[in-house]
């Protein structure tokens, strides 16, 4: 009895206990670090879509509301423009692209003009859809390891694909142009895009491009509803406040 049942159980239990204890210790050690990083990542994403130079300050972070039975998370920021408080919103939205969800954070101002867009998760085809995160760089393996460092281009936090969304008007349909890569340097190109309220698709990855555009539209719809809800509830509070 002891040999066949109790001893093994004891040993197994002991080992399980030891490992759990060890793991919980390591967990304790790493947990703050992990959380810090997660937070930092999120902050970075927000910082990317609501750059400091715009002057917005986040006032309500990660508000959760139910829109059409689904959870919607958004963040409100404000900046003072003389008397008036100007609002800006950032929200997270996801939509299926070519292969899997594309998750992005979008920031818009009160007039639903895009302030910034950052794609935080995607599993599109490398070399095609995955180019939404492509940085423009002329560096090669040889130049990096064997060449002179001068060629190394300065790194942008945003990809060219993300950058071209800035300034587009979300109250209107965002169009797709197929004109090859949008270059951050080309003023004319930028102007044409703004004029047509369009973005330039990644060659051969219209599906991905479209998914991002569609997700923005969907997010804006939800955001509008969320803002409405907020107003309603504020009104309700006001009313409640008045009645007594």
């Amino acid at each position: 009895m002891f040999k066949t049942l109790i001893k093994p159980t004891l040993i197994l239990g002991t080992i399980g206990l030891i490992s759990s204890l060890t793991l919980s210790y390591i967990n304790k050690l790493t947990k703050p670090e992990i959380e810090k990083r997660l937070q930092k990542k999120k902050d970075e994403a927000y910082a990317a879509v609501l750059p400091q130079q715009l002057g917005y300050i986040i006032v309500e972070k990660d508000k959760r509301v139910l829109i059409d039975g689904q959870e919607f998370v958004y963040t409100r920021a404000e900046k003072k423009d003389g008397e008036r408080n100007i609002n800006a919103y950032a929200f997270e939205i996801a939509k299926r692209g070519y292969s899997g969800l594309i998750r992005s954070i979008v920031a818009v101002d009160e007039n639903m003009k895009i302030l910034g867009l950052s794609i935080i998760q995607q599993t599109e085809t490398p070399g095609l859809g995955a180019r939404v995160k492509e940085m423009i760089s002329k560096e090669t393996f040889f130049s990096h390891f064997f060449g002179n460092a001068a060629e190394t281009a300065e790194q942008n936090a945003q990809s060219w694909f993300e950058q071209q969304f800035i300034g587009l008007d979300c109250t209107k349909q965002i169009g797709i142009l197929k004109k090859g890569e949008f270059s951050t340097a080309s003023e004319e190109y930028k102007k044409e895009l703004l004029e047509k309220n369009s973005v330039s698709a990644i060659t051969g990855a219209t599906i991905t491009t479209k998914a991002v555009i569609d997700s923005i539209a969907e997010g804006i719809e939800k955001l509008k509803k969320a803002i409405d809800q907020e107003k309603h509830s504020q009104n309700a509070i006001h009313k409640e406040g008045k009645t007594p």
């Binding site: 490992s19 759990s20 793991l23 967990n27 599906i207």
Partner: protein
């Protein structure tokens, strides 16, 4: 919850994101047990069964044990132990109540413990966000089932092809594993036809 969502999950796991051919999970049994159609069928059904059960149990454990007690970091350890004991249990039960089924599935069950597709599906269930989704349990189980069916499909195709390759003039050094991977590569290419499918 519409049935369509479940249908989507099934189609997605069986064809679009087939575990073996596009996620590259469960390759060892895929190569090891695909020599004969009969054993492929046995292994395939054993995997379907265990995947579905494991999805079900790990979901409950995760949602009602690991999360409340804030020990989600023990996920990997818990899941693998659950799978191992589940396989043991299933083996014993089948042996006791259905000797013929045990004859058919028995030899495959121990292999399944170390099949990364099983652990993979349980982990991916969690990462798909089903824990917070409505009807998460149903979706989880369906995803487990779909992944199993996808595995069976890939295994069956491979077994059929390999039986035929027995008769082919494959270069000597390419026989066995290497040609199996060539076939797997071509199969994966064919399955790309489902890529980007919207249901």
């Amino acid at each position: 919850m519409e049935l369509k969502a479940l249908f989507t999950i099934i189609i997605s796991t069986v064809f679009i994101n087939n575990y073996v051919l596009s996620q590259l999970l469960g390759l060892c049994p895929f190569c090891g047990v695909s020599k004969k159609i009969s054993s492929a069928i046995g292994m395939g059904f054993a995997v379907i069964f265990v995947m579905t059960m494991a999805s079900f149990i790990t979901y409950l454990v995760y949602k009602y044990l690991l999360i409340p007690y804030e020990i989600v970091y023990l996920r990997t350890l818990t899941f693998i132990l659950i799978i191992a004991s589940l396989v043991q249990l299933v083996e014993m039960i089948i042996e006791k109540f259905s000797p013929p089924l045990y004859q058919a599935l028995g030899i495959f069950l121990p292999l399944i413990t170390t099949n990364c597709a099983i652990l993979g599906v349980t982990v991916l269930n969690i990462e798909s966000g089903f824990v917070t989704a409505e009807f998460g349990l149903v979706k989880t189980v369906v995803q487990g089932l779909g992944a199993g069916i996808g595995f069976l499909l890939a295994l069956l195709l491979m077994a059929g092809i390999r039986e035929r390759l027995e008769l082919a003039d494959v270069p000597e050094n390419l026989k066995g594993l290497p040609i199996t991977f060539v076939v797997a590569g071509l199969l994966a290419l064919a399955f790309l036809g489902f890529a980007g499918m919207k249901i």
